[in-house]
């Protein structure tokens, strides 16, 4: 005979056999091991590229033009091209992205317009990067007659990264407590003043984090600039916005897949890949550090 309380609880807590708990622990350990896959892959790729690339990296490699039909020399034009593409892209996208985020968080009222804007941002975030490239080709290169150029590539990248900048800025602005706004409004500040003096300064670290990681993403993209900006070879800096540029990711792609010297340029490919990785992961890291510092400082 079992006790009454036992009868009530029994259906809820079946007697566990030891094997069941062992099975559970086994599954947990498998999940734990699989959980590191991403980290392991990142480490492996980094290690291989660093192993082959670190011997190539030198001051000359990052400050000299390519020579001997791209089989020797440095990658300076590609570094500068990537820097310019990314810089112009961010100059264009940051104001638009932050203003959109302010609009969404501070000014919009729930309704059709807000739904439409949110839906568009959500959809834009899912558009494949090569489709942005097609769009850039059809609009900036052809309709706006920019040709394959720095400006066409930058604008294409700007459109691509816009949803990311909007959503990270929006999150940063939303994290500012409502009471701060109310305090500002209560002492007679206008809404605009409140946003400029209270909301934006407090959300700046979050916005910066998004901007840094966005910059990292943009500088590693190849597909959107393939038909809008990237050139196989230019010497030095472009003289105007309407000239094609070299770019690090495109340089890797071209050297690794096209031409007759694929094997001969392998060291340059590794060196370029390592340069790109260091830049991208470095910017990522800066963004992550800004965020974690700010998190520790926040008292609310």
């Amino acid at each position: 005979m079992k006790g009454q309380s036992g009868d009530i609880i029994r259906p809820l807590v079946p007697q566990r056999r030891a094997s069941a708990s062992i099975k559970g622990n086994l599954i947990l350990s498998i999940i734990s091991v699989l959980g590191y896959t991403g980290a392991v892959v990142l480490f492996l790729v980094l290690a291989f590229v660093a192993y082959h690339g670190v011997g190539v990296l030198s001051w000359d490699f990052i400050t000299k033009n390519p020579t001997d039909a791209m089989t020797a020399g440095g990658i300076l034009p590609a570094i500068l091209g990537s820097a310019l593409l990314t810089f112009i892209c961010m100059v264009v996208v940051l104001p638009i992205g932050i203003m959109t985020a302010v609009f969404l968080t501070e000014y919009s009222k729930p309704g059709t317009v807000l739904k439409l804007v949110n839906m568009s941002i959500y959809t834009l975030a899912g558009v494949p990067s090569v489709v942005y490239g097609l769009f850039g080709l059809a609009v900036f290169v052809i309709v706006f007659k920019c040709g394959m150029s720095l400006i066409a590539g930058s604008l294409t990248l700007a459109i691509m990264v816009l949803p990311y900048i909007i959503s990270t800025s929006e999150e940063a602005i939303k994290a500012v407590p409502q009471s701060f706004r109310e305090a500002s409004l209560a002492i007679g500040a206008t809404k605009l003043h409140t946003i400029i003096k209270v909301v934006l300064p407090l959300s700046l670290p979050g916005i910066l984090t998004g901007a840094m990681i966005g910059t990292a993403k943009v500088s590693g993209e190849t597909a959107p600039i393939m038909f809008t900006a990237a050139a196989f070879f230019t010497s030095g800096l472009p003289r105007s916005l309407f000239e094609p540029v070299m770019a690090l990711p495109y340089h890797i792609y071209v050297l690794a897949t096209a031409g007759t010297n694929i094997e001969k340029t392998r060291p340059i490919q590794y060196g370029t890949a390592l340069t790109l990785i260091v830049l991208v992961l470095g910017m990522n890291l800066v963004g992550i550090i800004i965020r974690s510092r700010e998190r520790r400082k926040k008292a609310w």
């Binding site: 991403g38 609009f103 494949p128 459109i159 206008t190 990711p249 890797i252 490919q269």
Partner: protein
Amino acid sequence: MKLHWRKQEELTENVLKIVGLLSVVVLLMIAFFLFKEAFNIFYKIGAFKLISGTQWYPTADTPSFGMLPLIMGTISTTMLTALFAIPLGLATAVYIAEIASHRIKEFLKPIIEMLASFPSVVFGFFGMVIIAPILTTWLSPLLSDKLPTLIRGTGIPFLSTVVADLCYDKLFIASGLNMFTASIMLTAKSIPVIASIAEDSIASVPRTFREASYSIGATKWDTIRHVVIPSSLSGISVAIILGFATIVGETMIVLMAAGGAAIIPNWIFDAVRPMPAAIAAEMAEAPYRSLHYHALFGVGALLFVFNFILSLISDFVSKRFRKVKLGEKL
């Protein structure tokens, strides 16, 4: 002259409204230009013939634009990748959210984030120069030569004949640049997408749910399986859908590592040319406003429509996810 503050407010609001609507305009423009440039090919050849045609020879003397090989390339590569990426992505999410200690979490989350913005051209490059040679020089002899010999040696009926022949036949890897190589690198690219979204939704399951489960004697795995995962199911679904969207749209990896043959694949070691790879590889050579140019925009339009549908589905599912989150207040 300084504007009156009311005027200033009004002006700001209007400017912000216009900027805010910009993303709607951009989306409409993307759709408009894609379909405008793609219209020609759909009009000339016919949507059905275009999508079901099995011959993609855009530069032949009598060019033929059957997109089925490209579509099948995308579908099969995506399915193979999903097979790896979904379990690995979800395991990562569960590990970070439920099992890992605080310190490991602080270490693993930034790494996953870095993996997400890792340049895909480097993944493609890695697939080309590391994975592909490993497959052809090491894995292929091992699986299609040593393994069948070993199995034949056992003399077990069926196993030593049929299975050995099958190994010999199917595990021979002619070229390292194939669907399988691309899938491995695509997995690396999509793990962070799946893991970060799923982790968010798992972490948002209220702690009280778990405590209730533990208090009636459930083990950790029981709690994860019967409480945590069911209550974050819609978030996990969103993670999987967006993972699919990432895989379908990823260009550089399939361009560099998938082999590039526009043939309907029969097996995982066949070379394929998924849709983004076709666009990226051929656009530079397609003369402006040629049929080929329009056909590539057609492929782009298909990709856009496909990802648009995935966005709609995930938006719909995530609305339900928000309802689940409301449970916190109960």
